[in-house]
Structure formats: C-alpha cells, structure tokens
Amino acid sequence: MHWLVNTPLVIVLLVNLFMLGVSRMRSLIYSAAAQGVILSALPLLLEKRIGLMIIIVALVTAVIKGFLIPQMLHKALRDAQIKREVEPLIGFLPTMLLGALGTAASITFAAYLPVTQTGTSTLIIPASFSTVLTGFLLLTTRYKAITQVIGYLILENGIYIFGMLLLTAVPFLVELGILLDLFVGIFVVSIILNHINEAFSSLDTRQLTALKE
C-alpha cells in the first residue's frame, strides 16, 4: 500500500524543484496550487477508516489551497501590473541546486531518525523536510511579496505533510492546525497584498526599506 502514498509524495518533491527553477510567476502559482491539491488527497490515502471529519478537511484544503488562494494571487498579480517574472536574489539554477541538495540531505537525515510506526517505509518525513526547506528558500531568495507568500504556503505544505504521520494519534491537533494555518494564509494574502499595492504601487519588497537599520 505504500506506493499509494509515496507516488504523490514523489510528485510533490519534483514540484518543489520545479518551483525553485521556474521564472514565470504564473507557473509558480499553478505549481503551488497543484501541490496543494495533491496534498489534500493524502489523508484519504493514509487513513484506513475514513470519517466525515477527514473528508471535510480534505475537501476544504483542496478548495482553499488549489483554488481560493491561487485565485487571490492571480488577482493580486493582475492588479499590481508588475513584471510577471520572479526576480530572484540568488539565480534559478543555484537555488535549484540548493533545493536538490536539501532534498538529498532530508532523505539521509530522515534515515537516521528513530522511526515511528507509520514513518518507517513511506517518504513522509523526508518529503516534509524537503518541502519546508523549499519554502524557506523561496521566502528568503525572492524579492516580490507574492513570491514570499508562496514560499510561506509551501512551508505550510511541508508541515502539513508531517502532520500526516500524526493523523491517527492526535487528529484534533492536526486538523485544527491545518485549518488555522490556511486561515492565516488567506489573511496574509488578501489583506496585506492589497494594502502594500496601494501604498507603494508595487509588490516589490525592495521598496520596503524605509525602516532599515
């Protein structure tokens, strides 16, 4: 049964690398949406007995990660009239290499960790670590506010993957954590993007330097 969980996780890992190398904002948003939809199916694949709560969480996650947030990002992109390119601090190829190294390191590191029952033969732990690292890379090496928000969303995806390990042990914590994090995501995206755009007529965080020390 492990291939059922591992196949989507391998796709997630590939999407991670793709996102680090992509230069068009639009493709970046689509890949983040695709990753979100793939992840939302994970609880259904992992759980042996599927309850109502799990179906609801999966559906809500899919709608928010795959549709609502990408839609809001597209809208922000249109309104801002900014260049549709990502503008990295470190080039695409070096970040992709860093991402690949991070993935390799995650797999090695996870092998050394004392494993839990579910974690033994699935890719959950390495995929989670690698996705968190990808999120951090996007957050720190890209200039635009939208790219930083996507970085944050990917970071959240990584935590979500880890949550899958604990779905049977502490379903309440995991489900609530997921829903609340999504809520924060929406909050950050919608309110702030609009206001930064109004105040600076740009979504480039390099404009935000008035408070530099």
């Binding site: 960790l113 004392p114 839990t116 029952q117 968190v132 957050l139 506010a145 930083q148 944050y152 970071l155 959240e156 990584g158 935590i159 880890f162 949550g163 390990l165 604990l166 049977t168 042990a169 502490v170 309440f172 914590l173 995991v174 609530l176 954590g177 609340l180 994090d181 924060v184 909050f187 950050v188 309110i191 702030i192 206001h195 930064i196 105040a199 600076f200 965080t205 935000l208 008035a210 408070l211 020390e213």
Partner: protein, 479 residues
C-alpha cells in the same frame, strides 16, 4: 465557570465594540471590559477554581503570574486609550478597539491553556489580532512594519506547530494515542524519544522565540513597535512577549522532565546572551525613541531567557523580571507615545527638553529609563540582581560577567538617547496643530504604572512572593 467568563468577556466586548457606531463611545467599552476582566482575574486568583473543559483550561503557577500582569496592564492601557483616541478623532477606531479586545481574549486563553494545541491556537489568535493594530496609522511605513511582522510571525507560528508535531512524535514511542495535556506530557516525558524531543525544543524555542523577540528572530520588533501607537507597543512589549515566554517555559518543563535540562539550559542561555548583545549594539546611536524601546525589549527578553536557562533562584528572578519589565515597558511606551504626540516626531533630532514641555510624561520617561536599566530603587533592580547573584552562586562566572558587561552597554546606549530627548531646551514648535498637553486620561496610567514599579523595588507584596515561589517550584521537575 470563571475561566469561561474570563475569556468570553473580551470576546463579547469586541463584538459590542465592532457593532457600536460611535467613535467616542468605543474606547469606554474597552475600559468596562478591562475592569470586569481584572475583577474576574482577581476572583480566579483568590478562589482557585478547578480546571474546566477536560483540564484544557486551568492555571499553573507561571500562568497565574502572566494573567495577573496582562490583566493589570490592559486596565491601565485601556484608560490611556480613551485619552489617546481623543487626539485621533480623525481616524475610525472600529478595527483597533475590537482587535485590542481580541488580543486580551487570546492572551488570557494562552495564560490559562494547559494543552499543547490549545496554547498554539491562543498564540495564533494574539498574532493575528496584532497585525491590524500595527497598521492603525495607515502610512507606508506602518504597512512595511505590518508586512514584516506578519510574515515573520506567521513563519514563527508555523515552526511552533511543526515543533508541537515533533513533540507528539517523541511521545508516540510509548503511547500511540498520547494526551497533549501538559501534566500528562511532563509525567511521560521520561519515556519519550530524546532525539525528537530535542528537535521539538529547538523548533518551539525558535517559533515562540520569534513572538517573544529573541535575537536573531527579533527583526520585526523595532519596526512594529516603532510604527504602532504607543499603547499597542506597551501591550506588545509586555503582554505578547510574556505570553510567548510562558509558552517557552511550559515546553522547557516538559523537556526538563525528559532529562534534557543541560541541553535546554545551554540553548536558553545562548539565545539570551545573543539577544542582549544584539540589543546593546543596535541601541548605540539609536535616534528613534520608540525603536530604542523595542531594542530594550529585545534586551529584556534576553534577560528572561538567560534567567530561565540558569534556573533555580535565577528563574525566580526571571519571573519577577517579567512582571517588572511588563510594568516598566507600559510606563515607557505610554510616555513615549505622549512625547511623540506633542512633538509630532519620535526622533531625537527634533525631540529635546521633553521634561520642560511635558513635565509629567518627560519625567516618567526618564524614570522609566532608570528603572528598565536596573537602577535602584525600582523593581527591575531587584530581579536583575537576583539573576546575577544566581549566575555567580551557580558557578556561571563567564556568563555572569558577560551579563554585567552587556547591562552596562545597554545603560550607556539607552542613556544617550533618553538624555537628549528629555533634557535641554525644547525647540520652538514647528506647527501649532500639536496641541497635546498632559491630561488626566493620558497621565494617570503613567503614574499608576510608575507607582507599581516603585513598589516592587521597595517592597514585594507577600502574595506575589508566594506566587513567584510557587512558580519556581513548579518548574523544578525531576527527570
């Protein structure tokens, strides 16, 4: 029952405030809610009700201290807010006041939450309610501060969630369905997996440390405190940071019970000294009085982490310092807010002679500076001295010496800015629109917090000593 009342008073008041259409009436709702909250808090401390909701909501000894601090400070700040908003009638406070009340609800819930997940939710509530408050002034600078705050604190809170997951992972070793109550976690921490527990502590320290403002995750602080209204700065610097410190203490207790005392103590001491050093460096030549206060807050958080890391009597000192810092920061931010209002600037290029133009606010600002840097006869002197004493008696000689050196550096750095702002002759007024003069509503809260800080330096009331000792004993768990 009392716990439910404590948390729902501010929530209901927030709804009422959002529904009210009068800009002048809304701050008074905050005062009423603050007074009721204070009364209920006292009742809880006196009657000690049993935990409710399956033990999820109850009070542990450190939680009592934080609740006492938050409630007192909120009441003081709510009176100030009435006075402050009279000068800001041009701007609607329909978002600010409900957010302040939700912040109170969130931080009370955090003080009372005895469950790992609930504590995380409470922290998230306070983080979200804070963002619109920082954006109150709607300037380009304030949106920049809000953006940095929101991004950093969201990442911090996300890492805290991952840390909580790791903690659960550590507990899975012996129990496939672990309870997340702290009492349960502490009891079974001995059987937990040490590797996962160590990783959990690092992530939780970084995550909640971001909210607390420990270096190097402190970068949102100067921006947020600098751009937010003074009263918001006061509540952030004393309420939010104390809540985050409480969260770290609770997690630390679980790790100590898991036999990781040396490990967590080293991490806390390292982060503490780093925060103090960063604050000392950035305070030198700081011209913006509110940003200077933010760095002072980073330094104070460093002292708290250091005290918690050394442990024993130093932990007693750290908890007392948390109360002292909260009250002193209230006094400093509120008086800095008044100075800012009167001069239309918070930069020492423009602000001179505040003691002449605003005798009350200027004097309190000066006294607050003396208090926060640990001069006698104020409260922080006692707590800083306790920590220092404990550092030497527990043979942390190098750390004690570094602590003293950094305290001195902070005193000099902060002193230069404060003296320029407070002494000398005020420049002639540029514009006549700044008609601010010290009044009852904006002056009394300063005096009250000053008297409390002075009292804690001269005589600590027996009930507080008792609470502090209880909290210290509570943190000493056997692995």
């Amino acid at each position: 029952m009392l716990f439910a009342v404590l948390i729902f008073i501010p929530v209901l008041a927030a709804i009422a405030a959002a529904a009210t259409t009068s800009n002048a009436l809304r701050p008074w709702i905050m005062v009423i809610a603050g007074s009721l909250h204070f009364a209920v808090m006292l009742a809880i401390l006196v009657f000690q009700p049993a935990p409710i909701w399956g033990g999820w909501v109850g009070l542990d000894p450190p939680g009592k201290l934080v609740l006492l601090l938050i409630s007192t400070l909120f009441l003081v700040c709510s009176i100030y807010t009435v006075g402050y908003l009279r000068y800001r009638t041009e701007r609607s406070n329909r978002v600010l006041i409900p957010c302040l009340l939700i912040f109170l609800a969130g931080s009370s819930l955090l003080a009372c939450s005895q469950q790992l997940g609930l504590m995380w939710i409470a922290m998230e509530t306070t983080a979200l309610s804070t963002a619109p408050m920082i954006y109150f002034n709607r300037t380009a600078r304030s949106i920049e501060a809000t953006w940095k705050y929101l991004l950093l604190s969201s990442v911090g809170i996300a890492l805290a969630l991952l840390g909580s997951f790791f903690l659960v992972c550590a507990m899975l070793e012996h129990d496939p369905y672990p309870s997340l109550l702290f009492s349960h976690l502490v009891r079974h921490a001995g059987a937990a997996n040490a590797v996962w527990l160590k990783m959990a502590f690092v992530l939780l320290l970084v995550g909640y440390g971001t909210k607390m403002g420990l270096a190097p995750m402190h970068t949102w602080k100067p921006d947020a405190y600098g751009e937010a209204p003074g009263v918001v700065g006061a509540l952030l610097a004393s309420g939010l940071t104390s809540c985050a410190f409480l969260a770290i203490l609770r997690v630390d207790r679980v790790c100590i019970a898991g036999g990781l005392q040396t490990y967590t103590s080293h991490l806390l001491i390292g982060m503490g000294l780093l925060s103090m050093a960063v604050a000392a460096v950035f305070m030198l030549g700081q011209k913006d009085i509110k940003r200077m206060l933010a760095y002072s807050s980073v330094e104070q958080m460093g002292i708290l982490a250091l005290g918690a890391g050394i442990g024993g009597p130093a932990l007693y000192g750290a908890l007392l310092q948390m109360i002292n810092n909260g009250l002193t920061k209230g006094m400093l931010f509120l008086s800095a807010g008044n100075i800012h209002r009167s001069y239309g600037s918070k930069n020492t290029d423009d602000v001179h002679g505040a003691m002449r133009r605003l005798p009350l606010s200027g004097t309190i600002f000066m006294l607050g500076f003396l208090a926060i840097t640990g001069s006698p006869p104020f409260g922080p002197f006692i707590s800083v001295f306790t920590i220092l004493n404990a550092a030497f008696s527990r043979h942390f000689f190098v750390i004690g010496a570094l602590f003293l050196l950094l305290l001195l550096m902070v005193f000099m750095g902060m002193g230069r800015t404060v003296l320029v702002a407070v002494l000398g002759k005020p420049l002639p007024r540029k514009r006549s629109i700044n008609a601010y003069r010290d009044g009852w509503m904006t002056g009394l809260p300063l005096v009250v917090s000053f008297l409390l800080v002075l009292m804690l330096g001269v005589h600590i009331p027996p009930f507080l000593t008792h609470m502090l000792q209880q909290a210290r004993k509570f943190m000493e768990v056997q692995p």
